[in-house]
């Protein structure tokens, strides 16, 4: 089979700059910065002044069709489902492609359950000496915990929720937890479309780096440089063959000429860090989405996992 040229026909995005791709792109083009807020849990500490990026009102229940599924979702899953749905709608993908021939290639960030989800369980498991007791966990702690906790902390759940909500049934890969892994997801999606393994690929990532527990880890691990702050966000893109997009008369954001993920040990660089915040796993997806909407020609980001993600884009005629 002759490799097909791969184009981007759908973009969904949730960032501190906007609740949708259009809002985020407009704010990016206008040179706006993410708003920041302090994290209540860090009041009176060195992290109080750093703060995290503020997300806009997402209207998640309205956009995702009710609250039933939301109870299974972590913050990252909500963001991913919003961005994934927007991208698929933008490309009208569900009406045009057979579910089996739609692939899902994703990156996910560090696990981040709300501390409140485990607080009751842990409190019930503290013995008279103030120590954690496995015996008490078995006797009382588990009964006091949220049985849905596992759904919120398993790293594959955000993309799997997208597949369930949107009916994507084809080939898939999910990588974690840093920028280079999301880059690899895009590389695999691009190859899968180009070689005809799938007719359409939804590729992207979500990350809830602004979650207090994640923020604390990022600070401890020295992954936030002076002046940097964590942000949560997500972006998903629909990739398909140029011929299909033309045949269906779909608007095309950009043609993806090349994608590379290469070893890189010369430091981290995230072009979004100053204005959007550090979104880690989600950053390559957001950056690529913004570039596609802005007529950009090159995307490059170097991640915590010492891999450099590079994309060459071109406008289609």
């Amino acid at each position: 089979m002759k490799p097909d040229k791969v184009v981007v026909t759908g973009i969904g995005m949730v960032t501190p700059l906007g609740a949708t791709a259009k809002e985020s792109s407009r704010a990016w083009q206008e040179g706006r910065f993410a708003g920041r807020k302090p994290v209540a849990e860090f009041t009176g500490t060195a992290l109080e002044d750093v703060g995290v990026a503020i997300l806009p009102d997402l209207k998640a229940p309205e956009r995702l069709g009710g609250r039933r599924m939301l109870k299974y979702m972590s913050d990252a899953a909500v963001l991913g489902c919003l961005a994934g749905r927007e991208a698929l709608q933008d490309a009208d993908a569900k009406a045009r492609f057979v579910p089996d021939r739609m692939g899902l290639y994703a990156g996910t960030g560090l696990a981040a359950a709300s501390i409140n989800e485990v607080r009751k369980m842990v409190e019930e498991s503290i013995d008279e000496a103030g120590e954690f007791s496995c015996r008490l966990l078995g006797e009382r702690g588990l009964a006091a915990s949220n049985p849905l906790l596992s759904f919120k902390i398993l790293a594959n759940m955000p993309p799997c929720l997208i597949s369930i909500m949107e009916g994507i049934k084809g080939p898939n890969l999910i990588f974690t937890p840093w920028e280079g892994q999301t880059g690899a997801a895009f590389l695999e999606a691009w190859k899968a479309v180009a070689c005809g393994e799938v007719d359409c690929a939804l590729a992207g990532a979500s990350d809830s780096a602004a979650h207090p527990a994640t923020f604390l880890y990022l600070w401890q691990a020295g992954l936030l440089k002076e002046g940097e702050y964590p942000a949560s966000g997500s972006a998903y893109l629909v990739l398909e063959g140029l011929e299909t997009a033309r045949k269906d008369g779909r608007p095309i954001y950009a043609a993806v000429e090349d994608i590379r993920v290469i070893p890189w040990n010369r430091g981290i660089s995230d072009p979004l860090s100053e204005r959007v915040g550090r979104t880690f796993a989600a950053a390559p997806a957001i950056l690529l989405g913004l570039a596609c909407m802005d007529g950009g020609e090159e995307v490059s980001i170097c991640g915590v996992d010492q891999q450099r993600f590079e994309v060459e884009l071109r406008e289609t005629e």
Binding site: L47, R119, E123, I126, G138, G170, P212, P263
Partner: protein, 412 residues
């Protein structure tokens, strides 16, 4: 397209560490399932697990992390054995490293400060420079393997739950077949035998509470199956081009000739009751290998011992292999190893090598009476001989990710 072969296999498992010990146990039908010793589970409804026994020899930087997160040590030890087995001295730019795992290690003690579950107090303590990291990211083993064994051309950490290990191997196979890489080091590692892991799965109702059954508590396809048993360990493989392996005179353990992944798009925790995803995956893997269902001589089932999985998987197997399912022997090794979650599929690829290397099939020794809807040609007894050519192994993940891999006996 290039032919892809397995030239190295390393394993840390509840039934033995090292490939020979692992195959010895599976040949005999020995179970690694017993009462949990890693922590005091005496008040848990679930008191059984398949734990890795004994100490591993690890370099100090790995050993330090492994004390807190054992799966990291499992991954390193299996990787080191696989590389040694394949005669690979170091990872370099021609190599893809792709390993799968599932859940970050999280010690509940870490959120306790001065006798309270107080995150703010824990945070203040950490921010003053005290306290261990709250999280151990899932790529920690990947990072340590690179630090100790060399930098590959690409390093991937897959988090596709129970499908992760085989997904990593399948992707490695594709990457070599397409010419992207010369060698892939791929597999899975996991351990959830800790209070939060066992407790979390207990809450989901996925684990058997049939504690009195002991070593035979995990009962895939049995009428009295009550749930799965958690296991732990790692299995890593070295995949190379057939041309290179042959040119270098390496022992070839098997050929990888087909792979597919699909999504159920049905439910987070339950398989599609019609087995649609499982059927599509097996059929797609056979197409990828250029085979018909009539070519397959053995199936390693995902076979978790849960009510839903086993019936659905059996239905899917009967559908895909409609003309010959009664003749194809089906193994279910979780009966002995427990469910290693992200490492499960990888360790079962290792189990699929057993019939090629030793000419016997891994059994399902817990199976006494086949459950309704679970009718297949089950391998019950140890020592069942096998000289077939093609084997299919299945892994179906939490969240609806499905993978199947097709292996071929290497005839030289």
């Amino acid at each position: 397209m290039r032919r892809v072969v397995i030239t190295g296999f390393g394993v840390v498992s509840p039934v033995g560490t090292g490939q020979e010990a692992f195959w010895d146990s599976l040949s005999r039908g020995s179970s690694g399932i017993a009462t949990i010793t890693h922590f005091d589970a005496s008040t848990f409804e679930v008191q059984l697990a398949a734990e890795v026994k004994g100490m591993l020899e690890l370099p100090e930087p790995v050993a330090i992390v492994a004390r807190e997160d054992p799966k990291v040590g499992f991954a390193y030890a299996a990787c080191a054995e696989a590389l040694s087995d394949a005669g690979v001295t170091a990872l370099d730019h021609r190599v893809l490293l792709h390993v799968g795992t599932s859940l970050e290690s999280f010690d509940l003690k870490k959120v306790i400060c001065e006798g309270k579950a107080d995150f703010e107090a824990v945070a203040r303590k950490i921010l003053k420079g005290g306290g261990p990291p709250l999280q151990i990211p899932l790529d920690t083993a990947t990072r340590l393997i690179i630090e100790q064994l060399g930098r590959p051309g690409q390093a991937l950490t897959n988090c596709s739950a129970c499908a992760a290990g085989v997904q990593a191997i399948g992707h490695g196979f594709q990457a070599i077949r397409s010419g992207q890489f010369e060698t892939a080091v791929a597999g899975g590692f996991d351990s959830m035998i800790n209070p939060l892991g066992v407790g979390g799965f207990q809450l989901l109702g996925a684990l058997t509470t049939d504690n009195q059954r002991g070593a035979r508590a995990c009962r895939p396809f049995d009428s009295e199956r009550r749930g799965t048993v958690l296991g732990e360990g790692a299995a890593i493989f070295v995949l190379e081009t057939w041309e290179r392996a042959r040119a270098e005179g390496k022992e070839i353990l098997a050929e990888v000739c087909g792979y597919a992944s699909t999504l159920d798009a049905y439910s987070l925790s339950a398989p599609d009751p019609e087995g649609d995803g499982a059927s599509r995956t097996m059929a797609a893997a056979l197409r990828d290998a250029g085979l018909s269902s009539l070519d397959v001589a053995h199936i390693n089932a995902h076979g978790t011992g849960t009510q839903l999985n086993d019936e659905v998987e059996a239905k899917a197997i009967r559908r895909v292999f409609a003309d010959n399912w009664e003749k194809i022997p089906v193994s279910a090794t979780k009966s002995m190893t427990g469910h290693l979650i992200a490492a499960a599929g990888a360790i079962e690829v290792g189990a699929c090598l057993l019939p090629f290397i030793r000419g016997v099939l891994p059994p399902n020794p817990s199976l006494e009476r086949v459950g309704q809807g679970c009718e297949l040609n089950h391998v019950r007894e140890p020592g069942t001989s096998f000289d077939g050519e093609y084997v299919v192994t299945n892994s179906f993940g939490f969240g609806g990710q499905n993978v199947s891999l097709v292996l071929r006996r290497y005839y030289g």
